[in-house]
């Protein structure tokens, strides 16, 4: 029953009871009567107060105590629902709400557990990985540095490191903050730089980091790989190559010189058949010498010692010379070799004449070799200049370079997968690698355009000073 109905009935009943006493009392007198009336009213009020305490105040108090306990986090408490009035209903709905809270809390705890497990897995992964990992924000403050990274920068015990710790320790010409801020702001995907930290060499991979939700750049990750052992091994290999190459040159010299005398008739006449055999032997030996020279150059590039003196040179003179020298070879291969002479005189460029000649020789030789199919081969050599660059180009209509091989053409021992047919047992795969180093040492650039089955064009450009 509703509370106000209860009170209304109780009041009405009390009032009627008092009224009845008055009406029924014979010979009522005003003074005594009002005393009696007030006494009766007070008694009724007292009952009313007791009733209200029992039905309203006590349940509200109990409710309050439970609410306080639940508020303090004890979700096991429930309110006793004693009556069917508003307080009873309030208690019941409060209990329902508490149940819902318990459910929601349980879900939330499960989610938190899940997330923290995930977080734990990720951070122990980052922490335990052998590579140094550092994450910086847009202002280049270090947000995270894993165990390996902290050890690399000499603070294995610290929880984190500062950017200063990093940039202080990185030796060499690399400006780490400049490089990083470039990658952070440009949002470029990846860059590799080799640096020295302490006595060790590291390769740095830098990549920008995007916010997962908003996709804006929020910083960069630097991953550091210790390549010291690799470098040591590389150096040892280079030295071995260098020494053995030198040792190999001497027997090749003996074969070369003695064959030259035999073929030149210095020790008497030889038959046609003997000459044919010895000519091939001589050429085979020449190829070996060429290979040894390439290996020595490659070893020097590896050591960072490929340094040739540069001097101003008229490039078209070299090009003309090399083209002429290759004419016989082109004729032999039934390839038309054309040199498009520049109309006007060109400015000089600062290069090492012998080495660049070797590069052009190599490029023209390749062009002739790889276009010697069906007697339709054609190689065009030209040289042009604009305000800034002098550009040499060799264009052929040969077999081209398969797309899959193109990216690696300037790497050591890399050859086009379709090259062996026209050059069986030939090139070392070092020619373009050396060419690139020689051209770049003179401040130039080398590149190519090619389509398999249609031909290739190789370009070499030098800045005009």
């Amino acid at each position: 029953m509703k509370l106000n109905l209860k009170i209304a009935i109780f009041l009405t009943a009390g009032f009627l009871a008092v009224l009845l006493v008055f009406v029924m009392m014979p010979g009522a007198r005003p003074g005594r009567d009002s005393l009696v009336f007030f006494t009766l009213t007070a008694v009724v009020d007292l009952f009313l107060a007791i009733y209200l305490k029992k039905t309203v105040v006590d349940p509200v108090k109990r409710l309050k105590a439970v609410v306080q306990k639940i508020g303090a986090g004890d979700l096991t408490k429930r309110v006793e629902v004693g009556s069917h009035d508003e307080i009873g209903e309030l208690s019941a709905s409060f209990n329902r709400m508490t149940e819902k809270l318990v459910d929601a809390n349980r879900d939330l705890q499960a989610k938190v557990k899940e997330l923290s497990e995930e977080h734990g897995r990720l951070s122990s992964l980052v922490e335990s990985v052998k590579l140094g990992v550092v994450m910086v924000d847009l202002r280049l403050s270090v947000i995270l540095a894993n165990q390996a990274a902290r050890a690399i920068f000499g603070k294995p015990q610290a929880k984190n490191i500062s950017f200063q710790d990093m940039s202080d320790k990185i030796k060499g010409s690399v400006n780490i903050s400049q490089a990083l801020s470039y990658y952070v702001h440009a949002g470029k995907p990846l860059n590799i730089q080799e640096v020295m930290i302490g006595e060790s060499y590291y390769r740095l991979f830098m990549s920008p980091v995007r916010d997962i939700v908003e996709h804006i750049f929020i910083g960069a990750v630097v991953v550091m790989e210790d390549v010291t052992d690799q470098k040591k091994l590389d150096k040892m290999r280079t030295e071995i190559v260098s020494v053995t190459s030198h040792q190999l040159r001497t027997p090749a010299t003996i074969v070369k010189g003695n064959l030259e005398m035999v073929l030149g008739g210095d020790v008497g006449k030889i038959s046609k058949a003997q000459k044919e055999l010895l000519d091939d032997t001589y050429l085979g030996n020449e190829r070996m010498i060429h290979l040894i020279n390439d290996l020595m150059d490659a070893a020097k590039i590896n050591e960072g010692k490929l340094v040739f003196p540069l001097a101003p040179v008229q490039l078209e003179d070299i090009v003309e010379e090399v083209t002429k020298e290759n004419q016989a070879f082109a004729d032999e291969k039934h390839v038309k070799l054309v040199y498009n002479q520049p109309a006007a005189g060109l400015p000089k460029v600062n290069i090492n004449k012998d080495k660049i000649k070797q590069v052009f020789q190599n490029l023209i030789d390749n062009a002739v070799k790889y276009s010697s199919i069906d007697d339709k081969g054609r190689v065009e050599v030209d040289i042009q200049s604009d305000d800034k660059y002098l550009r040499f180009a060799v264009k052929d209509n040969g077999i081209g370079i398969p797309k899959a091989d193109q990216e690696k053409m300037f790497e050591r021992f890399s050859r086009g997968s379709n090259s062996t047919k026209l050059d069986p047992g030939g090139g070392s795969g070092l020619g373009l690698y050396i060419a690139k180093a020689v051209v770049e040492q003179a401040g130039g650039k080398i590149w190519f355009e090619s389509k398999e089955g249609e031909g290739s064009t190789f370009y070499v450009a030098f800045p005009i000073h």
Partner: protein, 139 residues
Amino acid sequence: MSTPTPKEAPSVKGKVLLVEDDPMVVRMYERKFKLEGFKLTMAFNGFEGLEALKKERPDIILLDIMMPKMSGLEMLKIVKDDPQYKDLPVVMLTNLGDRAEDVQKCKELGAEDYWVKANMKLEVITEKIGLILKKYSGR
């Protein structure tokens, strides 16, 4: 490798001191130089080279670098420090790398040139020796 041409009896073009430790290489140059009309003296290391220099008084020295006892570079220094021999042309004839710094170093020490054996035909070597002797005899 042109067609073989019969060799005529050569006239003596000059005296060459070859300092080289590999006997097969020595034998090869000896034959060619004699065919081309040079008079040849041989030594197998720097010490022997210096002795031969005093005894034979050559017009030109061809000097290997990597040799036992005394290297070509050491001998070059001694020869070029001696006022008696400092104007004598010395050419490094070696199979050691053709690094710019090696070549530069030898030239700074007074070598006339730096030839890599494996990269030069015998006829080119003899031709160049002839040119150097001609250049020095005119002095």
